[in-house]
């Protein structure tokens, strides 16, 4: 009885204290220092411009936004103390963290304090732990296979497609996902093989592909083996198209494979600068002498997400915001955001790129 009485007293006291801030406190956190500081800098620039724009239009629910910046230097321990500090400051929304290894422990702190967060971390575990407050505005590592497999099944329906991996956790996982996605579209891989990474001779594989009439190969693994396979295919007179994952962005591939690298496709995060709807914002960034590369546009989109969710919910309370974010759909510079039950966004997280003349770009449709 006595306990309840005390509690009631405290809550009365809390009601009596006027809100310390007239503004909505929103926060970003990421590596503002350390070896990944360039990413932190991009996040800050994106968030600052977004908040300036939102405030110029009258803010959210009649109140201005104010930005708090946390520096975790991509260190999980520091991330937790940043998260605790942010909770004490009573932020209403967090965009961060950046490194998956920081986001995962920090998200537990925000979850306990009931603060919604939007992150760009790509590790599947970020949203696989059932935390209701976590939303992801970027792709998941394990979506790549689905994007690649669907593309292969749609584009090369008439051709024979082999699926090959290098037996590594990353490579086999990716190749299995690609094969699964292809089969989901009714295309059966003509061959399913594994090779040993670190070898130099893949002529056996190349002959096997050639005799099976394979022209397209999906590969889970790293760029070194892709370069060797391409070279040996070229030497064997086999014109081979290879589709792989984000590891194939490495330009060593082009040095080692020469002109044969023009047939390499891979999946990688979309470039929001190419989104036509975002063109005015891109121009605004460039006018402010900021190139909206990397995570700049994502940070901008995170702030838009908060502003629109709060307007839709007519509140910045956790329960209302969480409900609005989970159920709503939001027009942002990275596209139309909406989330599934886990908190992963439904946008295509990866795009198909192609190497051409030593540069890569979205594949021509």
């Amino acid at each position: 009885m006595r306990k309840n009485f005390l509690l009631a007293g405290f809550s009365l006291l809390a009601l009596a204290v006027p809100a310390a801030y007239a503004d909505h406190l929103v926060a970003i956190a990421g590596p503002m220092t350390g070896q990944y500081a360039s990413a932190g800098d991009q996040i800050r620039k994106g968030a600052e411009l977004a908040i300036a724009e939102i405030n110029a239009k009258g803010g959210v629910l009649g109140q201005k936004l104010k930005l708090e910046v946390g520096d975790d230097a991509c260190d999980p321990k520091q991330a937790v103390s940043v998260a605790n500090a942010m909770v004490n400051k009573k932020i209403v929304f967090m965009h961060g963290h950046w490194c998956s290894s920081s986001t995962i422990p920090a998200s537990d702190v925000y979850n306990e304090a009931m603060i919604p967060m939007a992150t760009v971390s790509t590790n599947p575990q970020v949203t696989e732990r059932g935390l209701k407050n976590v939303f992801r505005i970027m792709g998941r590592d394990d979506q790549q296979g689905i994007v690649a497999g669907t593309y292969l099944a749609d584009t090369f329906k008439a051709k024979k497609i082999a699926v090959v991996d290098d037996k590594s956790a990353y490579g086999k996982g990716l190749a299995d996902e690609i094969a699964k996605a292809m089969q989901g579209k009714g295309v059966k891989p003509a061959l399913r093989e594994s090779i040993t990474a670190g070898e130099k001779d893949y002529s056996g594989l190349v002959s096997k592909l050639k005799s099976a009439g394979v022209e397209v190969m999906a590969y889970g693994g790293y760029h070194t083996e892709v370069a060797l396979i391409l070279r040996q295919a070229q030497q064997a007179g086999l014109k081979l198209t290879i589709m792989g994952g984000d590891t194939l962005t490495n330009s060593e591939l082009v040095t080692a494979a020469g002109a044969a690298a023009d047939n390499v496709l891979f999946t990688f995060s979309p470039d929001p600068r190419k989104n036509p709807a975002a063109a005015p914002i891109v121009k605004k960034f460039r006018d402010a002498k900021i190139e909206p590369e990397g995570y700049v546009m994502y940070a901008y989109a995170a702030m838009q997400l908060f502003a629109q969710a709060a307007e839709q919910a007519k509140s910045t309370k956790y329960a209302d915001l969480e409900k609005a974010m989970r159920g709503g759909s939001f027009d942002t510079v990275i596209g139309k955001l909406s989330f599934d039950a886990k908190g992963d966004n439904k946008l295509p997280g990866f795009m198909v790129y192609q190497w051409k003349g030593g540069k890569y770009d979205y594949v021509a449709k």
Partner: protein, 304 residues
């Protein structure tokens, strides 16, 4: 049929390279009875020298492929044989006459030393060179499968055959060959007869390194990428080839190399590339069970 022919070509190419490296193992074993575990890394060093030489030549604007190949081959052989000599002089000669185990451990140490030296000075990343020798012949076509013989495969096979004939001639006909064979039979007696045994051993190491250097250049041209770790895999395969053919026997090393190349090629094409190393080493075990001294090796007779 066409696939079999294609894999015969691929297997011979691969086997030629294994054979060239295997001769270094077998020669050293024949003369001083030790396994030179640093030999695979000598081969790796030669590949790095080749990449450096190719890059320098390209920077100097030399575009003629035969000229570039000749220069790179010369430079690589020269520097690699110096490495071979230095390894023997520093790591093995001081231990001669001590226990059998000491030079073996020293060889493993040398192998780790060379690997780490290259890793630190050249970086751990893969070093690629742009394709040097592009193109080839289409030999014939059957069931929609074109058998293709690339110029670099022709290069590897021709160079290996030339080198092997030269080598056989040198061992069987020249005075150095005689001295070398004498050392193999009885080192003390050869020394008593006035032959500089240490010099013969040094030369043997340099010759082994020369063949490894040729293999290194050929592989660089054929595959186009090298890294500091290639010596390990190639060394193990070549050592296996030497054991399969009968360690101590030079034709045996070549035969072992070609056999391993063919086993790998056919296994990868007809069964699964995943299990080709399992196949290679299973066959090694089988052969050793029935012929413990290898295919062409002679059992060592204990002299009383």
């Amino acid at each position: 049929m066409a696939l079999a022919l294609q894999q015969l070509i691929n297997g011979l190419t691969l086997g030629a390279v294994y054979g060239l490296i295997a001769i270094g193992y077998t020669m050293v074993y024949g003369i001083i009875g030790m396994i030179n575990f640093a030999h695979g890394d000598i081969y790796m060093v030669s590949a790095f020298i080749a990449v450096t030489a190719f890059t320098l030549l390209a920077a100097a604007g030399i575009t003629s492929v035969p000229l570039a190949l000749a220069v790179v081959l010369f430079v690589s052989v020269l520097f690699t044989s110096v490495y071979g000599w230095a390894v023997e002089r520093t790591a093995y000669r001081p231990l001669r006459g001590s226990t059998r185990l000491a030079p073996l451990i020293s060889a493993i140490g040398m192998s780790i030393f060379l690997q780490n030296m290259v890793q630190l000075t050249q970086g751990a990343r893969v070093k690629p060179i742009p394709p040097v020798l592009v193109g080839g012949f289409d030999i014939f076509e059957a069931d929609g499968f074109t058998v293709h013989l690339s110029y670099s495969q022709v290069l590897i096979i021709v160079v290996t055959v030339l080198l092997m004939s030269g080598f056989t001639w040198m061992i069987s006909r020249t005075s150095f060959g005689r001295q070398q064979r004498a050392c193999e039979q009885d080192m003390t007696m050869t020394g008593l007869l006035g032959i500089h045994v240490d010099r013969i051993i040094s030369l043997t190491f340099m010759l082994g390194a020369t063949l490894a250097a040729v293999a290194g250049v050929l592989v660089t041209v054929y595959y186009g990428v090298v890294d500091f770790y290639i010596g390990f895999v190639a060394g193990i395969k070549a050592f296996t080839a030497a054991v399969l053919g009968g360690i101590g026997s030079m034709p045996g090393a070549m035969l072992g190399g070609v056999l391993i190349g063919l086993i790998e090629a056919f296994w990868a094409a007809y069964l699964s590339p995943e299990y080709k190393d399992v196949a290679t080493f299973s066959i090694l075990i089988l052969v050793l069970m029935f012929r413990p001294s290898g295919l062409l090796g002679r059992p060592e007779v204990e002299k009383v």
